[in-house]
């Protein structure tokens, strides 16, 4: 059986999530094809092989370092048909999601997203997805093949396979007549995020702070614990804080020993950013906020009153 995995190239290596999906694909199907969009050098080939690729398909179009999603979908659809692929598995990235949506139309295929795992049961593939604030796991089957799957970020960890010399197959992308969006410019988030990613303690504020001046409480607590202050996406949107301070899927992924969420509801895109935290402490006035299902200690109350109380209590403890 054959699995196709589109890979995200980050300039020096492939991103961890797409390598994790690749190694999972190898577990499910012994014919695992890594799909890349530029010519891989020797070390890239080695990396693909190490994480399970038996073959590398190079889909490239003239002058594009990352072909538009619609073009990628055309190339992957023809590859899937030529190789009689059982499943096409992708990591969650905004580009992959666009590509998979187009691919589902081209292949008339069922698509499951946000999967935390895929298992083979009685010779059929089953997709697992956490639902209801991650308190329950739903199992899905595909009805028509090829099967399309988008794996939730950081749901899988990459496992290594014996390195072989993978075969390389080239598939030219023919852009003629396909209407697609063009990239005008691409900018990287300015530094700052790196210190957040490395912080041992992160104290983050969200909508529950209500006023920009209450961010000072978050900053004060972070400083007392030798940590970094951060915010959720809505505060960046509201202009209270720069992008470099944003924790979440499109901001910075943090892995502190302790993460303190102050007035943050904990939508999935935020939770993805804190999954690697040692302990999660949540302060939120809403007991049914998703963050309350994803914390170790949860305080249900007004963050504007509780933060000063917590700061006072810590002050008393650390006072000489």
């Amino acid at each position: 059986m054959t699995a196709l995995v589109p890979m995200n190239w980050l300039g020096v290596s492939f991103d961890e999530d797409s390598l994790a999906v690749l190694s999972k694909a190898r577990e499910l199907d012994d014919q695992t094809i890594a799909v890349v969009f530029c010519d891989p050098d020797a070390s890239a080939l080695d990396e693909l092989s190490r994480y399970g690729a038996m073959m590398v398909a190079v889909l490239h179009s003239e002058g594009e370092d990352l072909p538009p999603a619609r073009l990628q979908a055309i190339g992957i659809a023809s590859l899937a048909e030529a190789e009689a692929a059982e499943i096409i598995m992708a990591s969650t990235s905004s580009h992959n999601v666009e590509m998979m949506g187009a691919l589902s139309v081209r292949l008339r295929a069922g698509i499951l997203w946000g999967l935390t795992d895929i298992v083979r049961r009685d010779d059929a593939l089953v997709g697992l997805r956490l639902v209801h604030n991650d308190t329950e796991v739903a199992e899905f089957a595909w009805r028509s093949g090829p099967k399309l799957a988008i794996l939730r970020p950081r749901a899988l960890s990459a496992s290594e396979w014996p390195v072989t010399g993978p075969a390389i197959k080239r598939v030219p992308l023919e852009p003629d007549g396909v209407r697609h969006a063009e990239v005008v410019s691409r900018t990287s988030t300015e530094g700052g995020g790196q210190s957040l990613a490395a912080a041992n303690v992160v104290v983050a504020g969200g909508r529950g702070l209500e006023k920009p001046e209450n961010l000072k409480l978050v900053e004060q607590l972070a400083q007392m614990l030798g940590g970094a202050p951060a915010v959720s996406l809505p505060l960046v949107e509201a202009g209270w804080a720069p992008r470099a301070m944003q924790v979440g899927q499109t901001g910075t992924i943090v892995k502190p020993q302790v993460y303190i969420a102050c007035g943050i509801s904990g939508q999935i895109q935020h939770r993805i950013g804190i999954e690697g935290a040692g302990s999660v402490i949540a302060i939120n006035s809403d007991a049914s906020a998703p963050i309350m299902n994803f914390c170790d200690i949860g305080l249900v109350g007004d963050v504007k009153e509780l933060l000063p109380q917590l700061i006072d209590a810590i002050n008393q403890r650390i006072a000489p």
Partner: protein, 240 residues
Amino acid sequence: MSDSDSSERRGRVGRSTLNPFDARAIEEAVRILEARGNQGEVVLVAAAAPSDLAAVREGLARGAHRALFLDDLSIDERDVSAVATTLAALISSEAPDLVLLCYWPGDIEGALLASAIGEILDMPVMTQARTLAVDDGGVTAQKQVEGGDLTQRASLPCVIDLAEAINKPRYPTMKGKIAAKSKPVALSEAAAIVSTSLEPRSRLLGISNAPKTRRREIFHTAAAGIPEILRLLDERELLQ
């Protein structure tokens, strides 16, 4: 339909009021027309249960000119492919210049829906647009992606999925609400416009409890939790 089902389709089905995401898409469409001297019209397209007609009327009160309403009681059982097929059939009957959708941040199904609709209609697609500039030649949109920002451009007609940050919708005026009552809503049925199968291409096998990944000690009397936080910080040697 509950607020969140196994497909996590929160806010998309079964509401008699307009959801805040659709309100943003309508607001953006109305603003685009206003900036162009109100040349053209905003047409709402909905595939929904009859009880959702009230939400469509609210959209008309917000400045849309008319609506196509596909009466589909089974809409909440449809998968993303079937919804895309249905909406694309409705949309193509209008031959629009611009198709706008809006979903909440991180809504993968919403982004899939936009790209599937674009593929069916052979239109360029841009998802999660935070800013939008429409000119005679096309549309420029900016989005947040992993590690940075991306600005893209597409020619018309195209499909655009808007991010929540795109705008803050204005409240409907009393005049708008009154006018909405007489704006045309064309009703149709799925069988009349979609010839292909709308059978879901995946199915739910079952739901069970997920393994607990966090302690989840919740203090409803919040102050009582503060000593517990101190204990945890102490354990991790952070109170020095």
